[in-house]
């Protein structure tokens, strides 16, 4: 088949672009988790902060991604390197699912269990690390999974501002009016999203408390 032959001929480029794509998704998801999980824990414990934080993350999500990439372009240090900019923007988009799920996960831990722990003399950090986080882990990871899948999709748009990745194939294919080139970007991107979904889903299942 024509498409298959195209993939075989250009397999190095496709792999390279997939690598670039994973780079963008990997770093942004990591940063979002490093910021979002602690933030989610904070607002789960301090209920006064939950509305403003969740509302802010929500607002960020509603900004159309291409627009966000566009506003950030003129910013001095960011605009110099498109991949830097893309990673920042992707991190921002990944925040809401991670914060929200961390919040829900921690809140969802049986209050009686937490109180028993506190009554037994566990410190705040012991409660967090030994009770709340392990019990909330599956929900938190579900948030990370959602964030990753969203990122894989958004990262294709990042190619519009020069960040590379599989989106570049798509945009080039559009300019060339060549479906094979478009699909050389679109299919691996879809595969990556599915892999992220299944992979994380498997991990979640392993770590779910009985």
């Amino acid at each position: 088949m024509n498409l298959l032959r195209f993939f075989v001929q250009h397999h190095t480029e496709v792999l390279e672009s997939s690598g670039e794509h994973l780079w963008l998704v990997g770093w942004s998801t990591l940063f979002a988790a490093l910021i979002g999980v602690p933030l989610g824990i904070l607002i789960a414990h301090r209920s006064r902060l939950d509305r403003p934080v969740l509302a802010t993350a929500n607002i960020i999500q509603t900004i159309p991604s291409l627009a966000l990439f566009g506003f950030l372009l003129p910013v001095p240090w960011l605009g110099d390197r498109a991949d830097r900019l893309a990673i920042l923007a992707l991190t921002l988009y990944a925040l809401l699912p991670i914060i929200r799920n961390t919040y829900a996960g921690i809140r969802g831990v049986d209050a009686a269990v937490v109180e028993a722990g506190r009554g037994m003399g566990l410190t705040q950090s012991q409660l967090l690390l030994q009770v709340e986080l392990p019990l909330a882990l599956s929900v938190i990871l579900s948030g990370v999974r959602i964030a990753m899948v969203i990122s894989v999709g958004l990262a294709t748009i990042a190619a519009a501002i020069g960040a590379g990745g599989l989106g570049e194939f798509i945009f080039r294919g559009l300019a060339m009016v060549d479906n094979r080139v478009i699909l050389a970007g679109a299919i691996p991107a879809a595969v990556l999203a599915l892999l992220a979904d299944f992979g994380m889903g498997w991990i979640e299942k392993r770590l779910r408390p009985r």
Binding site: E20, L22, L30, A163, G164, E168, M176, R206
Partner: protein, 297 residues
């Protein structure tokens, strides 16, 4: 707990693997281009030259969406070389004011690129794809008009047409009118660039703002007026290349040097015409050109 510890270990390993993905390709050279005909013709030219004269494998990444995209791809090492214009590099990437002297612009761009980006320029390919103010060939001959200064005298009888961008740019219409004291019969028409040449030929307009290497210039017997007051900035086509790539493949330097000055405005026009209007394959057109210049056997 052992099971979850193993799972966490797996996550860490995968994350590390994921985060260390980055593009590097020491064994190949990737040639990029923008998404318009002239750019990918030049890209193809560079690619075929490298293929013919070195053992390095060449990968083509054409149709990148614009100057910024190409620049980012260079910085990130996704492409190693692509054709740019000196004027564009100066204003769009280095964000400096335009200068008029070809040599000066070239030197400034080269120095800044080397200093700031780890990129360098090959020699200019020969033509200057700057703005070209076109009139019909017959008018040029009958009225004996060759330069823009001469045209200024006749402008009040003419209707002009320009592309949208030219009208908006500070170094476009406004500057032109100021530099030459042009006044046209009526407000210029704003049209799609692709339609300007036809409109000129069909006498809907008498003066059109196009590009110097537009393939339709020879095809439709149009004449590009000389910019005798040097109003338009130079847009010499140059290959931009990563210094790292040159270090890895020093033979490329010689290959690019061979291309220096080899393409005249007319020759570029002809190649553009062949691909755009005659719908010929760009690879064939480029191969023919290289043969004609004895650049390839």
């Amino acid at each position: 707990m052992i099971r979850s510890r193993a799972s966490l270990g797996l996550i860490v390993v995968c994350s590390v693997a994921l985060l260390s993905c980055s593009s590097s390709h020491a064994d190949r050279i990737v040639v990029g281009s923008k998404n318009f005909t002239e750019s990918f013709i030049l890209g193809e030219l560079i690619a075929q030259q490298i293929e013919a004269h070195t053992n390095v494998k060449v990968e083509r990444r054409f149709y990148l969406a614009g100057t910024y995209i190409c620049q980012q791809a260079m910085l990130a090492g996704r492409i190693d070389i692509y054709p740019e214009y000196t004027g564009t590099a100066l204003t769009a990437i280095l964000k400096q004011g335009i200068a008029r002297d070809k040599r000066e612009v070239y030197e400034r761009v080269k120095n800044e690129y080397e200093r700031r980006f780890g990129l360098t320029l090959g020699p200019a390919l020969g033509f200057n794809d700057t703005f070209a103010m076109e009139i019909r060939g017959e008018d040029a001959r009958h009225l004996n008009v060759r330069t823009l200064s001469q045209a200024a005298a006749l402008a009040p009888r003419w209707r002009a047409g320009f592309g949208y961008e030219f009208m908006e740019r500070p170094d476009g219409y406004r500057g032109l009118v100021a530099a030459y004291g042009l006044r046209f019969a009526e407000q210029p028409r704003i049209m799609d660039l692709g339609l300007l040449a036809r409109a000129l030929k069909d006498r809907q307009i008498d003066f059109a703002g196009g590009n110097a290497t537009d393939g339709l210039i020879p095809a439709l017997d149009l004449v590009a007026l000389e910019d005798d007051r040097h109003y338009f900035p130079p847009y010499e086509a140059v290959p931009v290349i990563r210094q790292q790539t040159l270090q890895l493949h020093p033979e490329i330097e010689g290959v690019l040097a061979d291309l220096g000055g080899k393409i005249s405005d007319e020759e570029m026009q002809k190649m553009n015409y062949a691909v755009d209007a005659q719908h010929r394959d760009s690879q064939d057109v480029v191969r023919e050109f290289l043969k004609s210049k004895s650049l390839v056997p």
